[in-house]
Each structure stands twice: as C-alpha cells, then as structure tokens.
Symmetry: C2
Subunit: 200 residues, 2 copies
Amino acid sequence: MASLPAGPEIERLVQLLAKLPGLGPRSARRAALALLKKREGLLEPLAIAMRDAANAIRVCEICGNLDTASPCSLCRDTRRDAHILCVVEDVADLWALERAGVFRGKYHVLGGALSALDGVTPERLNVSALLSRVVSGVEEVILAMNATVEGQTTAHYLMDALQPSGVKVTRLAHGVPVGGELDYLDEGTLFAAFKARREL
Amino acid sequence: MASLPAGPEIERLVQLLAKLPGLGPRSARRAALALLKKREGLLEPLAIAMRDAANAIRVCEICGNLDTASPCSLCRDTRRDAHILCVVEDVADLWALERAGVFRGKYHVLGGALSALDGVTPERLNVSALLSRVVSGVEEVILAMNATVEGQTTAHYLMDALQPSGVKVTRLAHGVPVGGELDYLDEGTLFAAFKARREL
C-alpha cells in the first residue's frame, strides 16, 4: 500500500483495518476516514464496544461457541433438543444457521476444518470433546461442514471417528441453492443435484 | 438485524462495525468474529491505533486536510507548487489524487459537496477560506469535484464565486475511463467523451 499523505498514526489505523475480513485497502482507507470524522459518534463508541466485547467474551466449555457466558446461552437453553448435535466449522456458521432458524438442537463448534496445507490436524480441532459428548444420549450428529474440500475432508474424518459410537450421522443436502440459476452453477453442484434428485 | 446467539456486548460490536462504510451486516459479523478470535493480534492493536489516531488527528488550518499536524504535510511541503490549487470534496479524494501522483500543487478540501437535499449550503463548506487563499498569488484553481450532480453543482457554484478574482479555473476532463469498455458505460459518459473528442 502506498504511503498516505497523512501521519503514521493514520497509516497504522488503515493498515490494521485492512486486516479485517471484507475490507480491502480502499475500504480500509474509507473506514479510517469515517472513524476519524465521526470521532464521538463512531470511533469512541466502537473503541468501547471492542474493549467490552473482548472482556466479556468466553469460549463455551461444552460446545466451543463464543458467548459472554460459559456454558453458552445455546447450551444452557433447556428448550433445545439435546439429542441432536449439529457440528459446524466455525461460530460464523452457527450464527448463520441460527439466523435461518432451521435447527433447534445443540451445536458443536470445531474451530476450523482439517487442512494438510495449513497444518490443521484433528488434534487442533475441538474433536475429542465432540466424541465425549456423543456418548451421553445423543441420537443424531448432523455434520454441517462447508461444501469445500477441507469441509468435506473433515466430514469424512468425523464420520469415521463417530462410527464406533453407533450414533446416527447425517450431513446437509447438496444441490441447487434456492433462487439459483442452473446457468450460473458449477459442475460439482449440478452433479450433486442430479445425483440426489427426488421423485415428485 | 436479527439478534445474534451471543451476548449484548458482541451484538453491540457488530452493530457499530456495520456503520463503517463498506461493511454490511454480514461482513460486520465476520469482522467482529475476526476481532474476538485475534484479540492480541488484531483487536488490541486496532483499539490502540484508533486511540492514537484520534488523539493525533488535526484539521489543517490552511487547506482542510486531515493530518497529524496543522498546517498539514502537503501545505508545509515547499517543493509543491503554491500557484496551483486543486479543490476536492473530501480527504479521500485528496488521497486518491496523491496515490495517482498526478498533481504537485497544493490542495483545498471543501469537506463535502453542495446538496439541497442534505441541507449542505456554501456556508457549511470550506469555501470562504478558498476565496481568501486565491487572492494571494494563485494562478490556477482546478475543480476536481466528483462527476455527480452534487459535485457538478458545487463546481458551478465555485466557478461563479471565483470569477471576480480573475483566477484561471479549470475542471477535470470527463470521458471514457482508461480500461473502460464502451458497452458498459452510461449515456452521460459516452456523451461527454464524444463532445470532448480530440483530433489525432
């Protein structure tokens, strides 16, 4: 990134903002200017919110979710079905499923996906806790990994690891996304959608 | 935004991040998670950088630029040609021109563009300082407004306001952007490009 015609403090702010996912160099510069212009309305409240969130955040000792309490609010919620576990790679995936409101069981957050390239081994994921949880009364484990190579590798690994427990293991369906146009879909998705076609 | 399955502190962090330009609800959630996961590597340095930048920032008393000193580094730079002033709407525009390295004169930052809709009158912009600067030895004023309705309204207003001073007033050329394909350009740009065509 070329040096800005401003002081090193502003340069540093832009550099750190550019590390946030979704912000490139250009949007980091715009975000830095917005922060500096709205000092009382945005910069100071955001600094306080960052400190408060950093102080409040806990990793749930049961499922690995991020919340302000451990066990997290989902693990404490007795209205949720403890017989079904939905395994996700990341907290962001848990949030996405909660937004969709499709699942009323409990979650388990792995904290990533297996990746030989990035050196992510099963030991670095929240796997052994999952195997311990499955022993006590869980009837179904839904593997809700991303439909990526890493996600599917992780799903296969977990399927093997869960087999001795005898628990029912399922995975999310692959197919044409709702609202998706065939013309824009990749071969892999079309192949999966054909293979899993259903009679009407 | 639907409530997150996390505490109010995290919710508040996401809400404030979503106020940054370029971050929607989804990217604000991803940014919040990235901050909380990389507490020592990202959240704490960013909090410090925000505080440092907020403390260091000054509005240049001459040109209205944001810098860590006033007069700003560009106004202090004696190698820059003080006979040419480039008027921009915003600091971001100044940064863009500096990145391009096309201009070696001095700048003047208006702090916005005239907008009847948003109630931005000439009094709310850095206009009177511009008129005072022009008196003392400035030979050319380049109006580098955005090619929007507000930007062009502002340019027309400034042209009228600068006329009594007798200074030469120019504006940036409009036309086909370099690398642009005609098929993707709007009628206004094509019209401007035809009107300003040059003999080869």
